[in-house]
Subunit: 272 residues, 6 copies
């Protein structure tokens, strides 16, 4: 087995697809320190793994992820011998470390699909919004739960969710922490589609993943890179950047394979 | 009575909640100069008022707000002894002054909820989009009416609305000035939810306000601050900023109160 | 006939409205080099044409536009005597030239309305997203088809579409290239409204165009300019800019005409 | 006397020129809370005062300004009943208030000239860098002294000085807190010119101020506004903005006066 | 003769080097409308001309350029049948057209060297700051003269000069319009070097141009492109962009030629 | 010995100061792959090392650093089985890896001082500009040598140098690759100061380092962080950020120590 983790199940049996699942179902997949570290590690590894073209992220058991483990939160916030400015500087460093784990999903150069059943809560939602797309089963629900911990959500939801749903709704969710049921999540664009149950969800998401895995991996990596870049720059900057990107990468074996396969009437086959 | 204004009714009877309403129903709550000044003043004051945690903004009478008072518009645009560049420089200053009044809502460090019945027109919509969330009754309708005055809307709608609804719809509304009925407003995300009538709307909005007022005020203020910041910066910048913000504010009496109240099985109680 | 093009039909019979249609129906309106050049030219011309206030863009025959002509793509990407860095530099220049054609729609200082029937594919969608609004008939469908050519879409869709629909959906479409049917396009905000067939679409779009043509042309031009600016700047920057813009343009013959026409109880009439 | 302050001497006897000086020479012009408030107030007032076209800022006695008064620093940083996050949030608000006082110089729509003798230390340098230009006498010296208080300088020097002198020198000064003598200040661009003593400095600076006061006040205000804007935006953005600004203000009585006065061979005379 | 212009002398006799000079010495090279149009045209042409690798810009006769021709300024600003907002909108368009001419120097993908003798005034300085480097003879002097026309300089000096010299000096020059003599220009970085007279200047500048012309033209074009990009973006953005740029262009015939020529102990020879 | 590297000498004998030197004098400290990796590693390590407060970077032997090792450049650019887009994508990744090594200096939370003797060439200058300050001996010289390799400099000089010296000079150096002697480097701000020889340089730089090491380490770390942030943001953004930063870190044991030591008339002593 290529990837062995304590807090994550990783399945790479289907060609080109890595299925990762949070694997502490007895804790509703709450994330303690080891889980954060493994999350970061797996996405850094998968980003470099030529055998993988798409990643699916889900949760073992009933829930996708119930957020940061309370014991970790207590550890992060407990007083210590260091106080005041020094303590706060250290706290900042720890927050940045968790953010880096979440952002490793965005930086992974393969599309990451979140398949969400049950609760997607707090840090779970920070993670889901860092994925490229989100699909859910009918029992799914979503919550910016940090507000109930007396915290400003600091792992990405407040930055990324307003690109996915209306800012007016983001603010309601961030201030109230209320649960968004799957149906509302679909209607508002928080998830792309809702399926009746976890099995159907799994089947559908694998089918989407398979469709993506059949495309030119070079073009898929480039598309993700450009989408990330363009989100954070003006349209003019985004256009200029993609012109330069394509100047570097457009003329490729994959493009040739497409012209050839079209002529021969067969499906194109790509190397990674 | 703590807050006495001519053009605004201010009710602070419900603990932590300030209910403000435009109070010129006989003019469909059109905003003349005094109204703009009071609007700015109340939000600057409420931002500093520790007794208030949430603000609800609505309109007395049938309409939320019918926009800038025509007499003010005429005054702003009438010719005078100053002409040309000097006149235009002065006009710019007056526009900036009105913008500042609208932006005082965004800068108020408490969530501001717009509860909208009847017309929400022109400057009324500029104001509504500067609120955190918008809820409406079925009789509500919305219009970027400035185009019918031969004006480019200049008080915020063209900047803020595209974060709330699809840019494709914003452009249609900005060019045609057509009315958006409540149902369409809900479907497109312009309002979070529509209620059958003004009474139901008032009840529902107070219930949301109450839910927010029970959260940690420090965390609510921080969340609004971060949402404002993140809207105007890249995701990476937003993450870096919230890490620094939480380094400063996360370790608080509110956080302790939450841990304590959880252990004791009671609701947390916060100071402002 | 004022505007005579080979690849575009241009109809300026209705006062103030230019109806442009891609005119290679036998090729599903695929865009070869001449089409790109004419597209750029017509929008540069219309931007300066005082007789025109709104532009409608559609496709002759069954489809809106099936994207870049394959022969052009082959020409762009074929090997030549120049290789490596020099070849890529030249390729970049050609991509920028096509981008400039698409952006001429955004830079045209009149609203451009896309009326879409049948396929709106690849570069067709790049073009549609550069229009101000999109309306469709029920047979319309949309696809970021570039991924099936082994390419990163580089003419604007990846930059502009995330302002129109949820980023979560953009990514699914960009990675899978799947067709979005008209109904889904309406529900998600990709088009503003779907009409039963092409005739109804044409009628409805002309009615919207006519409504816009009756507004102050100066204010319409300014509104488009400000919407373009505000999309790519912070809210504070956008507010400052529109204040300065209105300082320059608010006091106009159009504003006077509105006050006068209101007093006289007639519709305002504007020069361009 | 038009402007009466406790901590500032304000002289408006020379037409169009306001000479302000820090007026606590017995404390080397250290700034306590009242001084900060008056500093902010005078610049807000002068910005609106049509009788004034240029401002000169200097210090009574031997020094320009020795920085924040230690008693204020102690007050800002002393512990209180509020602790942790709430205390830090309050501290942030107080820092922002002091920053606002400094930035009132930048926001004053008249050029502000710093005339510096003796020490220009800590907050004194924050203030000097917010002025448009700096001139000094030979006894002047400059220091980012905050580092010796265990503080990150937070009132503007770290933001504004790198636009004035090489970033390499800024960093040395910020890390070491060393004194920069007048001669080095001139050679590196920190001040525009050094004069032999305070009298010569005063004379020279008044002569510069007089030259500026004779220009079109509208054009001077615009130039300062554009310089502020351009510093914080790309060249393309700055060009676009100044085109719009001049569209609003170029055609003015001042421009006419210049053409007329040139024809008549006399100096132009402008209203404010 | 390849390039024939009325207002410009163009000499392309020296291989790879285009020497352009303003050619209205009897008007101190003041720029009327035709001159602006030709300026724009020559730089657009030279950008595409593979025979040219470096451009030198100077002035015939005693002066480099005395700025915008007064007759053009009067034409731009005279009143007409169009008034108010419409007039200002048109004025803005004309300013943008002149800006575009200046920016064509920056957009020209070859280095442009300004060789400055005599006056470099107003628009002359706008043009000089858009060049890559500036060299001068001892009789040169520089002035932001727009302030004496009652104008905010709007063709680039206020945007570009603060990257070249200290912002403190820019503001003095912009407010006073005073002449900067050559010696001060060298000391402050406004010009790279001063030569004793025009002949020496010409010789020296040609020698620099020749040195540049011997480098890889592909790398020179890329370096200019990256310097332009990096000036207007963060360091992180600039690094990311140049990595992508070099991914496209680094592996080239020029690189091979360098390795080969080094092995053979000869100078490299490049195609354009 | 705490830090043992093959390509770097690391001396941590002087308390709080790490002296690092490139240690391949026989190759003029050219950087091969191992050197890049160790460079990155040492700065990541030092950033976390509480025993170190300042870093000095110099070169063993006659030169500071002669740039990228030619063998590495050949390896990076040689053809392989992968071609076209895939090859370029890989090349981009390798460039980014080298950039990351350089940027590790900027990200190291301690000031890094470059002490430069002899050649500081190509990548050597990229590295020197990523340091906080630069000091040199009289035999030092500097060159953007990449242009002579047919390359666009891609490791930071084109981004960072324009903040240190005039953009006009940067462009000359980037296009010509000429050597800048120490004296000119001092006059133009490229280095802060020149000392007569390497010994004097070493002594002087250690003295500066010692002065920095005696300051509050928390404040020094914060100052560097803020200078980095402010370089890439607007003044308003920089002010807002430092207010938040100081809200988190100002109230510290270091601040208390300063008040106490001042009262007791002794030097303050800080923990890291």
């Amino acid at each position: 087995m290529k990837y062995a983790y304590k807090t994550l199940r990783v399945n790479t049996e289907t060609p080109y697809i890595a299925s990762i699942s949070f694997n502490r179902p007895e804790k509703a997949n709450a994330l303690h320190m080891e889980a954060w570290e493994e999350l970061k590690e797996i996405f850094i590894n998968l980003s470099e793994d030529d055998a993988i073209r798409v990643v699916i992220l889900s949760g073992e058991g009933k829930h996708f992820c119930s957020g940061i483990d309370l014991s970790l939160l207590q550890e992060l916030t407990q007083s210590s011998s260091i106080q005041g400015g020094h303590q706060n500087e250290l706290l900042r460093k720890k927050i940045v470390a968790l953010q880096t784990a979440v952002t490793s999903i965005e930086n992974c150069n393969k599309p990451v699909i979140a398949a969400i059943s049950g609760g997607c809560i707090g840090a779970g939602l920070d993670i889901a919004t860092a994925c490229d797309m989100r699909y859910a089963s009918e029992d799914a629900y979503f919550s910016i739960r940090e507000i109930d911990m007396g915290m400003v959500a600091d792992l990405g939801t407040l930055q990324r969710l307003p690109k996915i749903i209306s800012e007016g709704l983001v603010r309601e969710l961030a201030y109230t922490g209320r649960n968004v049921p799957a149906e509302e999540a679909e209607k508002t664009g928080l998830v792309n589609k809702v399926y009746s149950d976890k099995d159907e969800l799994t089947t559908a998401v694998h089918s989407i993943a398979k469709a993506i895995a059949e495309k030119s991996p070079l073009a898929i990596r480039g598309t993700k890179h450009i989408l990330n870049y363009s989100r954070d720059h003006s349209v003019a900057d985004g256009l200029n950047y993609v012109a330069t990107w394509n100047a570097a990468t457009l003329l490729s074996a994959d493009l040739k394979e497409i012209f050839v396969s079209k002529q021969k009437g067969r499906s194109p086959k790509f190397n990674s």
